[in-house]
């Protein structure tokens, strides 16, 4: 007498296990990260950063300019990936990925600023996003964000 569900039990436990682990660890990591981002953003708030090509105001005696970069790679957890793959069916906003991209973007800019804390201004800020593991469906992907700008010292 065959039983239909028994051969699948291991698969089900495994899938549920991955999603639960992904949720718990992903959520803890995310909350910690957001906390740290908010703190550091407040510390660096007075470092003028713009995406304009020219400095704000009139800067005299510019000492030097430097290329400033900050990049970060954050992995997707199984929970986020699972929810996103269900989203493929119905369409709509993937809320679970929104926090991921937001964290990556802010962290990249923060790293850029932290590398040049003494700059007078950071101008021409650009942000690029790419995903690692793209095209390899069975891998858990990760998002890379690169922020780059020109640091001006007076």
């Amino acid at each position: 007498m065959e039983n239909y569900i028994e051969p699948y039990l291991f698969q089900i436990y495994f899938a549920i296990g991955l999603v639960v682990v992904g949720y718990v660890f992903g959520r803890v990591a995310e909350q910690r990260h957001f906390k740290s981002i908010i703190n550091r953003e407040a510390q660096l708030i007075n470092l003028v950063t713009t995406n304009g090509k020219k400095p704000l105001g009139r800067l005299e005696n510019i000492e030097r300019c430097e290329l400033a970069t900050g990049s970060v790679v954050i992995s997707v957890d199984y929970f986020k990936r699972f929810v996103a793959s269900l989203r493929q069916l119905f369409g709509g906003n993937i809320h679970t990925y929104e926090t991921l991209v937001d964290r990556a973007r802010r962290e990249a800019v923060l790293r850029l600023k932290e590398a040049h804390p003494d700059a007078t201004q950071l101008i021409n800020l650009r942000i690029e996003t790419s995903s690692i593991y793209k095209g390899q469906g069975n891998q858990v992907g990760s998002v890379e964000v690169l922020a780059y700008a020109t640091a001006i010292y007076t």
Binding site: Y4, I16, F82, N138
Partner: protein, 271 residues
């Protein structure tokens, strides 16, 4: 007024919705969708199979016959069958009145089981014949498999298999863990479907055995055997998920049918 830098109070780039809410809604939605689609397509398979002309059935049989013969190495095994079982098979086949020939095969295996393969093959495992005491008990098992062919249950099973594969490919979720997660949900429907078909096959098998022997004595022997095994089984999953109804239920429904149809019960023939 002096400019002072300030961070926004709220993060507008992230929705404040709890991730579990989205998760629950999506999982429920997908389950409903998968079950619904599978149910509709399963019913369409039933309609198709019920209205299929015999010629189409024979064509399908010819197509799968080669594959099944290769897969299970069925060639050249017929002669190994004991002559009394061969004679029994002939008698039962006449009573079943199928449009195509069914061949009986014999395999050395300790398991107590028999199954029907597409293409008109019935496989008897030697363990079954060793454990059964009466020819009537064996006759019912063979008649049950013949009844599956008569009800075209193998075609239904094949059709549902095709639906499953087609659905999983269409949705394109097979690379994610989603499909693994969902497939048992559809199996639930399959299990219940299959239990119904088994009960119907039992009903038809009874009439085949009655036609052959003129009575239905000893037909429940196989289930009594299975019942003893079930009592010792360690399966943690309920019978709801099983492809066959529990033996106790099958025995009582067969007994009910015997009374309903006023079948006689006489002395059984030793195997």
């Amino acid at each position: 007024m002096k400019y002072s830098a300030k961070l926004p109070n709220e993060n507008h780039n992230v929705s404040g919705e709890h991730p579990l809410k989205e998760f629950v809604i999506l999982v429920c939605g997908t389950c409903v969708l998968a079950l619904g689609l599978y149910w509709i397509l399963g019913k369409s398979v039933d309609v198709l199979v019920d209205n299929m002309p015999p010629i189409a059935e024979q064509l399908i049989h010819q197509q799968v016959n080669e594959y099944v013969s290769d897969e299970f190495q069925l060639q050249g095994e017929k002669n190994q069958l004991p002559s009394n079982i061969k004679a029994l098979m002939n008698g039962l086949e006449q009573c079943a009145g199928l449009d195509y020939p069914v061949s009986l095969h014999w395999q050395q295996d300790k398991q107590v089981n028999a199954f029907a393969l597409p293409g008109g093959h019935i496989m008897l495992l030697s363990g079954l014949v060793e454990q059964l005491n009466s020819e009537n008990g064996l006759a019912f098992v063979i008649a049950h498999e013949l009844a599956h062919f008569d009800n075209r249950d193998h075609l239904r099973a094949m059709g549902r298999g095709v639906v499953m594969v087609a659905l999983s490919t269409l949705i394109g979720l097979d690379n994610a863990k989603v499909f693994d997660f969902l497939s048992p949900v559809s199996q639930l429907e399959t299990a219940q479907f299959s239990q119904q078909r088994e009960s119907r096959a039992d009903e038809l098998a009874l009439s085949i055995v009655n036609c052959h022997y003129g009575h239905v004595g000893g037909v429940t022997e196989f289930f009594t055997l299975m019942q003893n095994k079930e009592n010792h089984s360690t399966s943690k999953v309920g019978s709801y998920w099983s492809s066959h109804p529990p033996s106790q239920i099958r025995i009582s429904s067969i007994e009910k049918l015997v009374v309903q149809q006023a079948y006689e019960i006489k002395e059984v023939k030793a195997l």
